[in-house]
Amino acid sequence: MNAAAPVVLEVKDLHAYLYTRWGVVRAVDGVSFALREGETLGLVGESGCGKTMTGLSVLRLLPEPAGRIVRGQVLLQGEDLVRKSEAEMRRVRGRRISMILQDPQTSLNPVFTIGDQLVEALRMLYADAAPALSHRAEEALRSVKVAAPEQRMRAYPHQMSGGMKQRVVGAIAVAGEPRVLIADEPTTALDVTIQLQYLTLLKEIQARTRLAMLFITHDFGIVARMCDRVAVMYAGRIVESGPTRALFRAPRHPYTEALMASVPRMEASVERLPSIEGQPPPLHDLPVGCRFAPRCRYVDDRCRREYPPTLPVGPAQEAACWRVEPSPPSR
């Protein structure tokens, strides 16, 4: 949003592979992006394109023992997280980077009350005595707009609705006042009206704390509402990125274009929504050239031979495609 705001998180040429018995799954294969203070970056793409793995590798929480960061840097306020020890990472998690996951039903421990779980989370952050911690916990619930927090503290997760639970998860996530929040499809499991409330709440928290958010989703409606910039991922790489508005108005990569075309629109009634033929390539057996080539309508020989470079295509917009005419970088 504000180009002058300092960069909080910068991911440079990140490669995170999963070593499975079927071969090496290149889930994150050269991803780079930067996140500024108070900014929301949307990470979109179809299932299995490496969005979640990107989020997890930032926190160094890839599935063990298969996952490993092979190359690249994750710079949090200038410090490279890839080089940190596990003990140092534990101090980063929750305090400087936090995460919200998709399913509120399993995000809370079913055998503890909401209050106990908040206090437990807060105990890891603050060296307060028990009464002070439970006071903080109530404050945390109030800050995510949970009604009657004193009573909710004593409720068990199964006594609350999905939206309410996801608010509690949010409260735990931002309790340590992190600088970066990774939200991995936080509203997918909520119904539409609750989704809107939750997104508004996240926006409010962000406005208050200047939090940088990495918003992983596949819902373009949410992207349009939430994100300042968007990065489109395909088969482990970012194929196009740019300011939300510019990217929606003029997608330059054929994949982005095809994705946009497959979003239903109010104004135009169509018989059949266009869809992208075929499947994304399996991440353990990627084609040599452009990964979108087998499904691309503009494909030519060069696409099949070589992966295209990422080139600037407009103000702060980049795309990795042989077809784009590079434009001089922004004014």
Binding site: L59, R90, R93, G94, L101, N109, M124, Q151, A173
Partner: protein
């Protein structure tokens, strides 16, 4: 139950209907409690604790003139020996009362040790997975392949008879059963998002195991524990029956059944009375375990 309703009511302001509905429901709950097994277990514990006060005679005192007296209600029986006497003239009732101590102590020690080891192994194996899991589970498999009584006899013979031998033997036998079930539960629990979020929040593996995993498998563990009390009592009785258990003259129910076996035609009470005691206690603990399983299951409790 009532507490749950209270909490839900808070959201809608106070509603009087809660108190109305709480009445019949809690009465229904009371009726569903396994009173028979509660009663037998309570009696067993009381008897074991208060044995010196309750027992009419010493369990080891012999009196040959009084030998093989039948129970009081049979011809020739007297109220001095309510359940009759054995071949050495020892009072059967007193021996049953003191025998309850052996059964309870063995059950408690073996279950605490075996269950504890099983719980820890199961959690570590399930949570860490990979090679640790494969290794620990192969050990469990190997342990479970040994025939129960054979291994217990082997241990009893090599370690010498006694209470601690029996406790060790049973511990060695049952930890693997606990480990396997607990591991299965952990595998299910650890995939849930709250475990991932605990890591996101900076929890160490040890802390996650202790704070998030253990309470989630505790229900299953408790039920397994109660269901194994009966098993342990039977193993102890079997070992004593086979002569590898508690050395005489300490009374043990299994030993008493074994001693009474040769007199079954002439003095039936010598084998039947301790046999009935074993059966009642095992049944009571099994019923209690069944009830506990249902009671601890939140899905069944909520209905």
């Amino acid at each position: 139950m009532a507490r749950v309703e209270e909490r839900i009511d808070v959201g809608f302001g106070s509603s009087p209907s809660a108190e109305v509905s709480a009445g019949p429901r809690s009465r229904g709950d009371l009726a569903r409690l396994p009173w028979t097994s509660f009663f037998i277990i309570a009696v067993l514990i009381l008897v074991a604790v208060l044995a010196p006060l309750i027992a009419p005679h010493s369990p080891t005192e012999q009196s040959l003139p009084d030998k093989l007296r039948p129970p009081a209600w049979q011809e020739g029986g007297s109220t001095t020996h309510l359940l009759g006497t054995d071949v050495l003239g020892r009072d059967v009732l007193s021996r049953i009362i003191y025998g309850a101590r052996v059964s309870l102590i063995v059950a408690a020690v073996a279950l605490l040790a075996g269950g504890g080891v099983g719980l820890i192994v199961g959690i570590v194996a399930g949570y860490l997975g990979g090679r640790v899991d494969s290794f620990l589970m192969r050990v469990v498999d190997a342990t479970l392949t040994f025939p129960t009584i054979l291994i217990a006899l082997l241990l009893a013979v090599s370690l010498g008879q006694g209470l601690q031998t029996i406790a060790i033997a049973i511990t060695v036998l049952i930890w693997a059963r606990f480990a396997r079930v607990v591991r299965g539960e952990v595998l299910a629990v650890k995939t849930r998002d709250f475990v991932a979020l605990a890591r996101v929040h900076g929890c160490s593996h040890l802390r996650i195991m202790a704070i998030h995993i253990v309470p989630n498998v505790l229900n299953t563990f408790m039920v397994l524990l109660t269901l194994h009390i009966g098993f342990v009592i039977i193993v102890e009785a079997s070992l004593s029956f086979l002569g590898a258990g508690i050395p005489p003259p300490t009374p043990s129910w299994g030993q008493m059944v074994a001693d009474g076996r040769s007199h079954i035609a002439s003095a039936w009470w010598l084998a039947v009375v301790p046999g009935a005691a074993i059966m009642l206690v095992v049944l009571a603990f099994n019923l209690f375990g069944d009830w506990l399983r249902d009671w601890l299951d939140p899905r069944l409790r909520q209905v």
